[in-house]
């Protein structure tokens, strides 16, 4: 393979770059395939092959202009009403909740790299949404970015543990990754406290304090919420917190409608970032979608954790309506 002699249109252009030549003519010069095939003296079918190869190798970048999603009316309304730095509102038209979630995740993934600068430390939460964002991020080379896992790992049956979320995110961003090698929840608060004092864990938790940006989703307090199915909280815990006024979940912590953390038993059992650390970040990126997330999102925003939001048309409208 390596030194196999390729022919590729002998006597023509330097050989390997004929693919690029074709791609340039097609996408930059605006020639059609027939014209290109004439110039290159190959059949049009070959030009098709070249173009496909160019696309397959990722030479061609096609993207929708981000301004479209941050600039339109709903996005501006969100920004003004909630005092955000920016909002990214995607068309969700007619899709199922599932499809909408994927779109929102993809939108966040497209937007995220432009929110990061060299030297940044990005905290990554966990959950289905965050996982899909991590997966959807296009491989790019972000110089000097560090990704940190915001909460410990859990036994979610779906494969989107906090570890995997942060690892994939770092992988696709070409960033360094600091994982938190501990469970998110321990049955014994004493053990949890001891673990927090372990030098390795302690260092990792310290690192979290230095994050200047974070990406997270808002979790709902429904009985079928992932916080229960991932065994972070039991049904009993959930009931208790809801009685205390829990409206949403952020990084594994329950918050009330004003976004204030609700102190409770779980705090002592958990290993992960505390919510006060999420205040005052350069970027607090909330990615969530769906009717069930409206109240949690509002709570997170009210708590001041959020500077940027990614969501769909529909959810944006619900947020605005609910807050009017």
């Amino acid at each position: 393979m390596a030194n196999a002699t390729r022919r590729r249109n002998v006597g023509q252009i330097s050989g390997e770059s004929i693919v690029i030549e074709a791609a340039w003519m097609y996408y930059n010069d605006g020639l059609n395939q027939s014209e290109i095939s004439q110039k290159l003296k190959v059949s049009r079918a070959t030009v098709v092959n070249y173009l496909q190869e160019a696309r397959a190798r990722g030479y061609i970048r096609i993207s929708l202009a981000p301004e479209v999603f941050t600039g339109h009316q709903l996005a501006q309304d969100l920004r003004e009403k909630f005092g955000l730095k920016a909002a990214f509102v995607l068309p969700g038209g007619n899709c199922s909740e599932e499809e909408r979630l994927m779109r929102v995740a993809r939108g966040a993934a497209d937007w995220l790299p432009s929110l990061l600068n060299p030297g940044d430390r990005l905290g990554v939460a966990w959950g289905r949404t965050v996982y899909e964002v991590a997966e959807a991020v296009e491989q790019v080379k972000m110089d000097d970015v560090t990704v940190s896992q915001l909460v410990g790992s859990m036994a979610t049956p779906y494969g989107f543990t906090a570890e995997i979320c942060s690892a994939h995110m770092a992988q696709n961003l070409g960033a360094k990754c600091i994982n938190l090698h501990a469970p998110a929840v321990l049955s014994d608060p004493v053990l949890a406290a001891k673990l927090r004092q372990e030098p390795i864990i302690r260092a990792q938790l310290d690192a979290l304090s230095h994050c200047n940006k974070a990406i997270f989703a808002a979790g709902s307090c429904d009985p079928d919420s992932h916080i229960v199915s991932s065994h972070v909280a039991s049904d009993k815990d959930l009931d208790w917190y809801v009685k205390q006024g829990a409206t949403g979940v952020l990084c594994g912590r329950f918050i009330d409608a004003q976004g204030q953390p609700i102190p409770g038993e779980l705090d002592d059992h958990m290993i992960g970032i505390t919510l006060d650390k999420l205040l005052g970040l350069d970027v607090g990126l909330l990615v969530s979608d769906g009717a069930s997330k409206v109240a949690p999102m509002l709570a997170a925003i009210a708590g001041g954790y959020v500077t940027h939001v990614v969501t769909s048309n529909e959810t944006a409208q619900m947020l605005l309506d609910a807050a009017s």
Copy 2:
């Protein structure tokens, strides 16, 4: 217009954003136009219209991956041989000199925004090549970038004066623009000196010292060079400088094969940046192409003014051959 009631598929998605919806489905979800027309419940022809509108409005960004041009063999060879930070080598295959120049200009225009950061001050030289680059830059919003005109204005018959080059560049980059409101060459050195002392001109010249990046082309010393046809130098001047060893022209100044400025009468007549100010920049972007530019480019590189190069395949090869 503002409050005119648009119909656009009444009862469907919020109306204006149906274009975005269609674009998303087409480019992100990979659906074809028929599928989209079904989902959106419009005819396929309408979908075509939506997509065209999206493209016309610039919602769709298509670009060739820059790594292709900075990564391939010739670019790496250039970088190593001349100690550059990066080189951008475009396919020039089979084109006329004119077409190659346009490609190189376009390549530079595509690359330039990614070389700029907030706070940068970009010095812009003049000439046919620089003009084409300025024209080819896609309208983007670069926050907090300032463009400075590196040399005074001249009576070129072709419309690419230094003023126009820098103004268009700033325009398309969405940057501020500092023009140099003075002729590049004055017949009287005393007058030139006086003009340099004028507060406005002086301030503008001072601003040039603060540029941290610059874009320029290498000019040749042929009798049909633009430096002559634009009346910056006379034929007699040119002859004299060539006799002194002039190999190229950079920002209106003659340099020898080692890139050293050749002191001469013209210096006192000129208003514009001096070459020592171009040393040690974060980015010195040389954009040039063609056989006649090979020697001037080598001279500019030898002089240490250049950190980044944009050129074609063919010229890159000539540079490497000539320097081997």
